[in-house]
């Protein structure tokens, strides 16, 4: 029997949630027995090679590239899980949501007290993904099947969730594993 495949990505996140995945410690050996990793920063596979059972999404959508990757995950994965506060509610990057984009860019590239920018322009290049008007939680962009909040979610919560999904069991997180911080 071929092993089910799992994929993961970090959109507008800090990779802290991926650190929390690694934080399952020696259970990662068990995980490797249970699943095969497809596209993921853990194995550095850049493109989907096959259909996946589970996709773990860290980070929200702050730019066009994030949206593109998220949609790609949606079309390649049976089950998508938002992992962490950035994916579930926008997180720290969403702090800019109350501020008009123009002001954000001006503060970052033109007017900020530590800015040194001789061009006097906001970077604008085809290579740079277009920034969105605000940061969106993943479920406001595509359908997300499950949410694991936390900054980051505890390693145990991620482990429990993945094991439940792989065994087709309902996920019943104990009180201590559902946290927003």
């Amino acid at each position: 029997m071929t092993k089910p495949k799992i994929a993961s990505t970090s959109l507008c996140g800090c990779f802290g949630c991926h650190m929390s995945i690694l934080d399952i410690d020696d259970r990662i050996l068990k995980l490797v027995e249970l699943v095969e990793f497809d596209k993921s920063p853990i194995n550095d596979i850049k493109r989907f090679t096959d259909r996946c059972l589970v996709g773990l999404i860290e980070g929200g959508c702050a730019n066009q590239e994030n949206v593109k990757v998220l949609r790609e995950f949606r079309s390649h994965c049976d089950v998508l899980v938002s992992v962490g506060d950035c994916a579930t509610m926008g997180g720290i990057p969403a702090m800019r949501n109350g501020i008009p984009l123009k002001e954000c860019l001006a503060e970052a590239y033109l007017d900020g007290p530590t800015v040194h920018n001789e061009t006097g322009r906001v970077p604008h290049d085809e290579e740079l993904p277009l920034i969105l008007d605000k940061v969106y939680p993943c479920h406001e962009v595509v359908k997300i099947d499950y949410h694991l909040p936390g900054c980051p979610p505890p390693a145990d919560a991620i482990w429990e969730a993945v094991v439940a999904l792989l065994n087709n069991k309902p996920l019943d997180l104990p009180y201590e594993l559902l946290k927003y911080d």
């Binding site: 579930t88 926008g90 939680p137 499950y146 009180y175 559902l178 927003y180 911080d181």
Partner: protein, 237 residues
């Protein structure tokens, strides 16, 4: 005692005294009814509606509704649980609740309520409103991003502190907590020791320089859901 009143909550017989609210009688009996705007030391506000129960089939706020002989109260039904859950979810999307860096996290009643209800993420779209922070006062700040408009500070400042510093202004989604000074919190008579500061259920009104004092794992709601203390009373009796 002649003023004793007996009624039921979810089929469990509860005895209270004349003049008590459903919440007071339930607390005594060790039955937890979730609440946010209610505070033990203040008059009930009846505004958050998290304590909604059904009394003889009609929805009522348990914190303001007086008990009467033989009445049937429903507390833990799927329908009521769903109402409460959606209220808490609406509070989360209506403000800017960034738990990951909030000093109140772990001791916050809104967050604890969401944990108790098992809310992974709100079902409603986030509004990300523009709210302001007033850090002018030397010892206290207001972060309106986190305010849930429970009105505890309004009642505490008026009834306990006797200062009338806080009041609601505007209507509907524009409602916000205002202060009785032209511009800044620093211009009010607020003191860090005021009841109004102590009773805020969220991180909207906080004392400065005391944040993050308790480590993760030792905070109020890290291990036990909100309401566990009340439910423990029932287990004992």
């Amino acid at each position: 005692m002649s003023d004793e009143i007996t009624f039921t909550i979810d089929g469990v017989e509860v005895t209270g005294t004349q003049g008590q609210t459903i919440m007071q009688a339930a607390d005594q009996a060790g039955i937890y009814i979730p609440r946010l705007c209610w505070h033990a030391d203040l008059s009930p506000g009846g505004s958050c509606r998290v304590c909604t129960v059904k009394v003889n089939g009609r929805a009522q706020a348990a914190c303001t509704y007086p008990i009467s002989e033989g009445m049937l109260v429903q507390n833990e039904t799927d329908e009521i649980r769903e109402w409460r859950k959606s209220i808490v979810e609406m509070l989360f999307v209506e403000g800017n609740h960034f738990c990951m860096f909030c000093e109140k996290s772990g001791n916050c009643e809104l967050q604890a309520m969401a944990y108790r209800f098992g809310i992974a993420t709100p079902r409603y779209p986030y509004m990300f409103p523009q709210r302001d922070v007033d850090a002018s006062h030397p010892d206290v700040f207001i972060d309106r991003n986190r305010c849930i408009l429970c009105g505890r500070c309004v009642r505490a400042s008026r009834d306990v502190d006797g200062k009338n510093i806080f009041q609601f202004v505007n209507r509907g989604r524009e409602t916000r907590i205002a202060i009785n000074a032209e511009a800044n919190l620093a211009d009010t008579a607020l003191s860090a020791m005021d009841k109004a500061v102590e009773v805020c259920p969220v991180g909207a009104i906080l004392r400065k320089r005391v944040g993050y004092a308790v480590p993760v794992g030792k905070r109020k709601y890290d291990h036990e859901p909100i309401g566990s203390d009340i439910e423990a009373r029932r287990a004992k009796s």
